[in-house]
């Protein structure tokens, strides 16, 4: 059973993300040697002028994509949580895409099978984190994410309290 401190995935800080898509471009060129966001494992969403966030695989504890695959083409590593696609079994049916709540798994426009973020396992470190100009991306565990949020919330509470005139 993977321990909570070992299952790492990439997450973005919404306060820092500026929607620049550098992550999309470095991902597609690292993985496919071409510049094309349609082949990137991460996609940025800009809701309005103020809200941007990149979305990629969260390495769910109980991945719906794996459960949904009718051909068992998707497996999840016990150790890392990374989802692997068996290219001989995958037929591009897209059930996993429907199952994923975030749109993190996608159909590759050329290969006709699905693809998903694998933390750049062959490179040893995720390229998007390295290249993000705002340092908005980080490799986190769910526990660390919760810790960060907790600490930020408490700090904010006390800073605001300190600023409130007596």
């Amino acid at each position: 059973m993977p321990k909570i401190h070992e299952r790492k995935f990439i997450s973005a800080d919404p306060d820092k993300c500026v929607g620049c898509q550098v992550c999309e471009y470095i991902c597609s060129v690292s993985k496919e040697k071409a510049f094309n966001p349609l082949k990137s494992r991460v996609r940025v969403v800009r809701i309005n002028q103020l809200v941007n966030l990149p979305v990629m695989c969260r390495l769910c504890e109980d991945p719906p994509c794996v459960a949904a695959c009718p051909r068992d083409a998707l497996t999840q590593s016990e150790e890392t949580g990374i989802i692997s696609v068996d290219k001989d079994k995958c037929n591009g049916c897209g059930w996993c895409i429907e199952a994923c709540d975030y749109g993190a798994i996608m159909l590759h426009p050329d290969a006709k099978i699905v693809y998903v973020c694998d933390l750049c396992k062959e490179k040893g470190e995720p390229q998007c984190i390295k290249w993000c100009p705002e340092e908005a991306l980080d490799l986190v565990t769910s526990d660390v994410l919760a810790q960060k949020a907790r600490i930020t919330a408490v700090k904010k509470l006390f800073t605001e309290a300190a600023e409130t005139p007596k």
Binding site: V18, G19, C20, Q21, V22, Y25, I26, V29, E32, K33, A34, F35, N36, P37, L38, K39, R46, N48, Q49, L50, N52, P109, W131, P133, E134
Partner: protein
Amino acid sequence: MFAYAGKILRVDLTTGKVSTEGLSEELAKNYIGGIGLGIRLLMDNSKPGVDAFDPLNPIIFVTGPLSGTMGPTAGNGYAVVSKSPATGGVGEAKAHGFFGPDLKRAGYDAVIITGKAEKLSYLWIDDDRVRVMSAERMRGKSPHETDKAIREELGDYYIRVSAIGESGEKLCRFAAIINDEFRAIGRTGMGAVMGSKNLKAVAVRGTHDVNVANLGGFRDFIKMIHEHMKGPATAKYRTLGTPENVLVLNSLSALATRNFTNATFEGAEKVSGEYLNAHYIKKIVGCATCGMRCDHIAVVPEGPYQGSTSRLEFECLWSMGPLCGIDRLDAIIEGMRIANEYGMDGISIGVVVAFAMDAYEHGIITKEQTDGIDLRFGNADALIAVIHKIGKREGWLGNVLAEGVSKAAEIIGNGAEKYACHIKGLELPGYDLRTLKTAALGFSVSFRGACHLRNGAYSPDVKGKVNRFKIEKGRGKMIADEGNMYNIIDSLIVCKFSRGTYYDGWKDLANYYTLATGISMTPEEMTKDGERIENLARLFNIREGKGTRKYDNVPYKIKNYPVPDEGPAKGACISDEEFQIGLDDYYAVRGWTSDGVPAIEKLKELGLGDFAYIVEKAKRVGA
């Protein structure tokens, strides 16, 4: 081809005919892309004397060789080139955001659009499937609303749209084309040209890869640029942003106030970059591939314009602020927001309102003509009300001002042209030319009209590298050199804010080009390209009867209204004598005649000998 798509798309909106042709390596190497390629295609696909609103006037959407790659800022650019309804000469503008890369991925280096659609339409470019779709239900909608409506209709969130608003539909001569909510093909009225073709928007979706010739080298190069983008060259854009200019120019008595009456503004602190960032800026966002992000997004927290949200840069802050004597940022932000909703150039709109205010204060425009609006300098409510009128072309005032200051002054008569601050029909940007004289010369000779982006001639003045209160010999070379560089910046299409990150200047840019395209390019060849583009644009203007010495001028107030403000700039204005010396100096450096016409030898040197007929005709006519 690498980086380039290698293909040009032609669309005739009258017949609905769509065709493609190849992009030759020769054309690519000699004109690069962006405005360079656009101006060449404009020259080759137009006939002399055709009005900007005529269906025969082509409007050309162009990408650069670096569009669609990961080049920081270079990856996202596109340009639009056509004959300008404001100047009658070359109209061009560039925009960033997210539209450009999709056009390249769809497989096109340029899209030449001619004719006129029968009904309001949008062009839908879906890789190699190109269709003209009905845009009737988007009539009157803002560019952003149009963007959303098109994406919803076509069912894809990632489709990119470049669209006009109501003012473009109604042929406002300074109407803009806007993509990604607040990125603008802003100046020279390209939006009006689209409106004249019944073209509401261009929507694009591209799925092809973009590949560079030398991937390893390219990656190393852009890694270097990313690092430079964290350094001093971009600090301004990452912190206060361009609004930093407000107090800088004010301290130099170069902040044109009340339509170039004063050169300092008593309300400068209240509209400064410092004040804006402290009280209004909620977030700074970026464009595709950018390593520095500069879009300062302002939100009004309270008051009559509460909630108004807009990106705000110096030029628009100045034009709707100090230039109109307005010291309220909430109104300026709202002004910018609605200017974007109508789809109008943020510089021209402010200058047009300031012109009207000046004319009103001098009794040339009456309160009856303003429909009761008290159009005095400093009246923020009046600014907002008049922007609405212009956007809608409503009433006598809205209709006249939508023509831009040059034509509005003609229509109004009665000495109004004294208050019209433009060069060649393009409204002046935010630099007081009476106290920044290199800028005065540089703006006057620019092929676009009064433009700070063609040669950045304000820079030696503001940085204190020259005596800014006098035009002297030697300025011509500064302007020409920077002009060549800026032409290449706008042809590769890299963001001008990134210009300081290419520490080795021409060497870096030539290398960038070669790494991406595989086409060998030396710094000398690239400099020549910049010179060629300048000369070709000049030739177009001459061909259209707008390109000779008499059009390289400065507005009446710059020559005749000395700066009244106490301080080192008191009494400053441009004398005709020094101005003519400046023109002679510039023309000599350019290899042009004393009438500002490229000499035949220069044309031959640049491979433009085929256009000798234009300069010969100009000599005969004495244009």
